[in-house]
Structures are given as C-alpha cells and as structure tokens.
C-alpha cells in the first residue's frame, strides 16, 4: 500500500511529499517528492543587483538565513574581486555559529516532538528565542536578517552586545545538559533511536551526503576545518564525530556541534571586544548600492572597467555543505548563480536509510536528517 506522507502532513516539517510503500507497518519502498516550494531563486537572481540577492538568500532556508547569506556573499565577493575587512569576517563567523545554534535547537525541538516528547519542544523554542533576540539587536530581523553586504556586513554590533551574548551562551551550555538528560536519559528514547536509519560511511560518501549525517558515520569532514573560509582557521574548535551512523549518533553529533559553536562564539566575542574597525570595505563601486559605502568619487568604478570573473564558495551550513557559484560578466546583475543545497542531497538518499524500518520510524529518521524544504527547492 502506497501512503502519501505529505505534502500536508505533520511529519514533513515543510512542503514536500514522502511516498511510502508499506507492508503492514514495514517500509518496503520510499520515494521522496520535492518541488512544492520552488521559487526559482536562481533565476530571480539573474535580474537582481548583487546586494538584492541577499534578501533571497534569507528566504532560501528559513532557519539558517544568515548562513546562506554567507554562502552567497562568499561567491559574490570572489566573483567581484572584493575582500571584506577583518572585523566583518569575524562578525560573519559569529553570525554563522549563532545561526548554527539556532538551527540545531530548532532541529532538536522538532525532532523530539516527532518522538512524542512535548516539553523539550517548548524548551527548545524558548532557548532559540534568546538567540533570535541577539540577532534582532544588531540586524533588526529575527528570521530574515539581510545583514551581509558585498564587501562586509551592514553594521557593527551595538555596545553591550558581547556581554549579553556571553550570558546567553552560558545559559545555553546549562540547557544542553538538560536536553541530554531528557533524551539520552530516557530508556524509551534509546530504544526508539538506536540502530535506526543507518547510513554507513561509504554510502554517505558515494551519495554525496554531508553535514552531521556524514559526521555521524565516522567521517570527520567539516569545511570549517578542511577548507577554512572567513576566519575559521583562527578559531579553535573540534569536529564533532560519532561512529554508529544511526539516529542517536546524529543526535550526539548535533549536540556536540552546539557545544563547539558556543566555544567559537566565545572566541569571536573576545576578538570583537579588542579589535574595533570598519565592517564594510572602502572603495566599493557605487552601483553595488551599499548604503553605508563612501559615495564620493574616490569609490567610483565604471561598470565596464570592473573586473569580471566567476566566484565559488562553500560553507559548512547547519545542515551540511552548501555551495554557491556566481558568474560575473560585468554589470549590475550576476549572469548566472547556482546553489548546491546539502539537504536536497541528504533527502535524495532516503531510499538507502529508510527501507526495512517501520512506519513509526519515519518521523525520527526524517527528523534526524534535519530537513529544510526552503533550501531543498530553492
């Protein structure tokens, strides 16, 4: 019997359809169908100014907006041959890690809710709100930030921000202990999740699966370490890794990643405290329309004189490796953009980690993949 789990179904956490062929309670075949949320972001990008595309990136993934901004900004800056000032790079790293925390907490809340745990869902939402408050204090947004700019970031953090952020980090570290106690301390949780949705290291690599799913299979692949961007080579952190390749392992990896994110955020806060400076590059071309860029003649570059080229960037987004490619043929708009979504790949591999389990296992397995349909369909 084929059962449609989606597009309107509580398991999907978004708008997609998982077709499942079941024999009693056993899963015989699965067929993920995506595309319900396709907005044509790559096509729309072709008639937008470079800075206007940032708005689209926020809508790309609704729980990791600023990480996607970073993906695009990295590629766009490469294509336009612009370098952001050092302080902006540190701010971007801090934003990335705060976003990773927010995204993983959101994942935790949704995942335990799928298992029937109601209270941790609200604990997760409560704690995520603190991070959104932090974002609001310096970007003005809670979900769509529009904070990055080609050549830096829009504005600096306000005074007193670093202390407030440190307090939130301390609070979160205490809460993580609680999270673990509620989940790992529960016999039912272990029975539900151990040995579930196994995807071994070789299959992960063959299928192009990245992010926490890959690391839970014992492969310590993390772009922040392997191919450092921004200032990730100047902060200390460990790559979270587990070996079981099942749902519990993915849980452990994400929890450890959150702890490492807190570690990175603390280091960036220390750096930001001691190194004031500009957050947006000087001499930006006026047609980039950066609101705080110097608008005098010294910053003016004619379009036709502007260097052309292509830019590529890869960022370890909360869900996995996100990549962007931007082609600049001169002009205010990119000629073409292309984005690689990690969740799209992780989702496409569903056949390899779902068949043979039970209907009741679908929500925890799919939850452990951490799906964000916005970036799957783009």
């Amino acid at each position: 019997m084929w059962v449609n789990m989606g597009p309107q179904h509580p398991m999907t956490h978004g708008l997609w359809n998982l077709r499942v062929k079941i024999d009693g309670e056993l899963i015989v075949d699965v067929d993920p169908e995506v595309g319900y949320l396709h907005r044509g972001i790559e096509k729309i990008s072709e008639d937008r100014h470079y800075n206007e595309i940032i708005t689209l990136m926020d809508r790309c993934c609704y729980v990791a907006g600023i990480a996607w901004e970073h993906v695009y900004i990295g590629a766009a800056e490469n294509a336009l041959h612009i370098t952001a000032p050092e302080r902006a790079q540190w701010l971007r790293v801090m934003c990335d890690e705060l976003q990773r925390l927010a995204s993983h907490i959101m994942w935790y809340a949704a995942f335990v809710q799928d298992l029937g745990l109601m209270s941790p869902f609200l604990y997760g939402m409560r704690d995520r709100d603190l991070i959104l408050d932090l974002f609001q204090s310096f970007t003005g947004g809670r979900l769509t930030y529009e904070y990055n700019r080609v050549g830096g970031v829009r504005n600096d953090v306000p005074s007193g921000f670093t202390d407030r952020c440190r307090k939130v980090m301390d609070w979160l570290m205490d809460r993580f202990v609680e999270y673990d106690r509620l989940c790992l301390g529960s016999e039912i949780f272990r029975r539900r999740c151990d040995g579930l949705g196994v995807l071994k290291a070789k299959e992960c690599v063959d299928l192009g699966v990245t992010g926490p799913m890959l690391r839970s299979a014992g492969v310590a692949r993390d772009l922040r370490k392997d191919r450092p961007y921004a200032v990730y080579d100047r902060v200390e952190f460990d790559v979270a890794k587990a070996d079981a390749a099942d749902v519990t392992a993915r849980y452990l990896v994400r929890m450890e990643e959150m702890r490492q994110s807190v570690r990175i955020v603390r280091q960036t806060l220390d750096w930001l405290d001691h190194h004031p400076g500009p957050v947006l590059a000087d001499h930006l071309p006026r047609w980039l329309g950066a609101p705080y860029a110097p608008m005098g003649n010294e910053g003016y570059l004619l379009k036709r004189n502007f260097p052309r080229g292509t830019g590529f960037a890869a960022v370890e987004e909360p869900h996995g490796e996100a990549q962007a490619y931007v082609v600049n043929t001169g002009g205010e708009h990119p000629y073409r953009t292309k984005f690689r979504s990690p969740v799209f790949v992780n989702l496409s591999a569903a056949k390899h980690y779902m068949i043979g389990y039970r209907v009741a296992d679908i929500p925890p397995i799919m939850g452990s993949v951490d799906i964000c349909v916005g970036e799957v369909d783009r």
């Binding site: 019997m1 059962v3 789990m5 179904h9 509580p10 398991m11 309670e25 335990v112 809710q113 799928d114 298992l115 029937g116 745990l117 109601m118 209270s119 869902f121 609200l122 604990y123 409560r126 509620l182 529960s186 039912i188 949780f189 029975r191 539900r192 039970r358 209907v359 009741a360 296992d361 679908i362 929500p363």
Partner: protein, 376 residues
Amino acid sequence: MSNVTLFDVANGLATLLLTGLGSILPQPLHGWLINPNLIFALAATLFGAILLGASMINTIMLIWFERKMLGRFMDRRGAMHVGYAGLLQNFADGLKLFRKHTLRPREADSLGFYAGPTAYMVTSVLIFGILPISTGWSSGVLPLSLLLALAIFSFAPLFIFISAWSSNNKYSLLGGMRSAAQMIAYEVPILLAVVAVILVSGSFDLTTIVNLQQNYWFWGPLFLALLVFVVGMLAEMERIPFDLPEAEAELVEGWNTEYGGMLFAFFMLADYVRALVGSILVVLLFLGGWTLPSYVPSALTSFPLAGIFWFMLKTYIVFGVFVWIRASLPRVRTDQLLKVGWMRMIPLSLLSVVLAAMLVLVRCLPVFGCVPGLGG
C-alpha cells in the same frame, strides 16, 4: 448526610415536580401524573442527567487541569484568557466545535462513520453510572459493578476500529489497527491485576472494595498489581507514551483523522472521560476511594460532601501523575509496545495474582498489618 443518596435527591425532585404539576391540573391528568411508575422513570432520568452533567463538567475541568499542568511543565502558562485563569477556555472550545459543520468524506461508510463515535462516547459515559463516587453517590448496590465497569471499558477498541475502518482513510485504518491491537494486548494484564484486588477483598462490588480499604489501602501490599494496572490504563487511555494509535507525527491524527467538528469533540471528550474513569478506578481499587484512615482527625472527614472532596482530590492527583508522564516521556513503537504488553506485563500481572493469593494465605504482613474482612 451520608444516608441520603443521589437517587433519593433525584426521586424527591421528581415527586415534587410531578405532584406540583399534578395539583394544578384537572382530575384525569392528575391521576395519570401522580403515579409511582412515572415518578420512578422521571427520577431515573433526572439521576442520569445529573450524572451526565457532573461527569461532563468534571471531564472538561480535567482538560483544563491538564492544560495548566502541562503548561507549567513546559515553562509557559497554558490557557489564560477565557474566564479566570482560562477556566472557561474549554467550554468555549466545545461551543466552537458544536457550531462547526460536520463533514463526511464521500467514500466513507455513513453508518459506521456516525455510529462509531457515538457508541464510543456513549459507552465511555455509561461507566459513570456504575462507579460509586462516595457513599451517597452511587446507583445502588451492584454485586458485580467492577466487572461491569471493566466490560464496558473494553468495548472501546471495537468502536474505534469501526470508525477507523469506515472513514476509508489509510492513516485511520493504520491507527485503528494499532489501537485495537494495543487495547486488546493491555486488557489482559489489567484484568489480571484486578483479579489480585478481587482475591484480597473477596468482592466484585466497588463499594465493598472501598469500604474494606478504610484502614488498609491496597496500594502498599498490592504494589505490583497497582503498577501493572497503571501502565495498562495508560495504554488503554492512549496517552503518551502509549498514544501511538494517534501518533500525529506519522499518522496525522490516527483513527480520528477524518473527523471534524462535533464528532471530533466526541472522540476528544470520550478520551478524557476514559482518562477520568481510569484515574477513578485506580483510586477505588488501590487508594481507598473516598475513605481516609481512621487516625485522621474527624474534622477532615465530617464536613458536608467530604467523601466527594477527598475522592476528587485523589482522582486529580492520580491524573496529575498521568500528565507528568505525558510531559516527560517519548512515544514507544508499536512492536515494542506489544512486546512489552505480552511478554512483560502478563507475567508481571500473573506474579501479582500469585502474590495476592499468598497475601490471602498469610493475612498479616509486618509493615502493612492485617487484611480486613478475612478475619485474620
């Protein structure tokens, strides 16, 4: 106070009403109205209406209690806006559901679709007619009231399966199958746990069982039976961690996916009625019902309606434990649930029966004292 029963109240009301009405009417009608059979019929109807009203109000307050308590567990406040501290929120929700149009899918079987929820609701509320709430609040002496209550309680899987099957929806069917399998699997340990109580008390009558427990609550000596009974009741009520028939993550809403409006309200209410019945049964069988031990100062047991007060307090505490479990545990899987049911619960309940039989033989235990009613 204690020798006036609820039925006496209903009877008095019926007599007053009919004689009052009869005295102002001319002779042929007067003679027809003031008639013991008619008075009895009206009294029985009034009795039922009072019971229904009381059980419904209690059920709705139970939902409020759960919402507030869950709210506290989850670091929020729960319902706050309608009435004081949200007391009237559930009445408002109920009214909204009443006003809604009830939709039936075209492919659904009309008879089963409507009869299922109705029968589920009716059988759930019916149990209230049997359960004694305090000395005055009972429908009289039924020698087999415990057995009758459990028999009506176990009708549910049949009606759930009928409504699930007739909805003609894949999720409903899966949920209905899960529900039937689960309820039948946990019916057996529950009955065996009750056998332990019956062995010790020597009676099927709930009032007798409660009266025996005046100074000897059964939860201590029959702890294993209590444990089996509570876990089994959790499964029968379909609450977390055993709510997989309506596991919303994978089955949308399980067997009541296709129901909306009033029919959904029927299911919802009946679920809470069953939760209330489950808590009441725990209190009656193991926690001494409306009685308090005789060393408690008499001021605590002699005020009007004291029996009902203590009974409801105990019931709500038991239900509070169920809410606590709901707030802190994830859901188990069907095969795990059935495995626990058949391979752990049944041996445990058999063991509890053996322990109860040994207790009857020994009669006195060091800490708990002697079993009353056995002459020991």
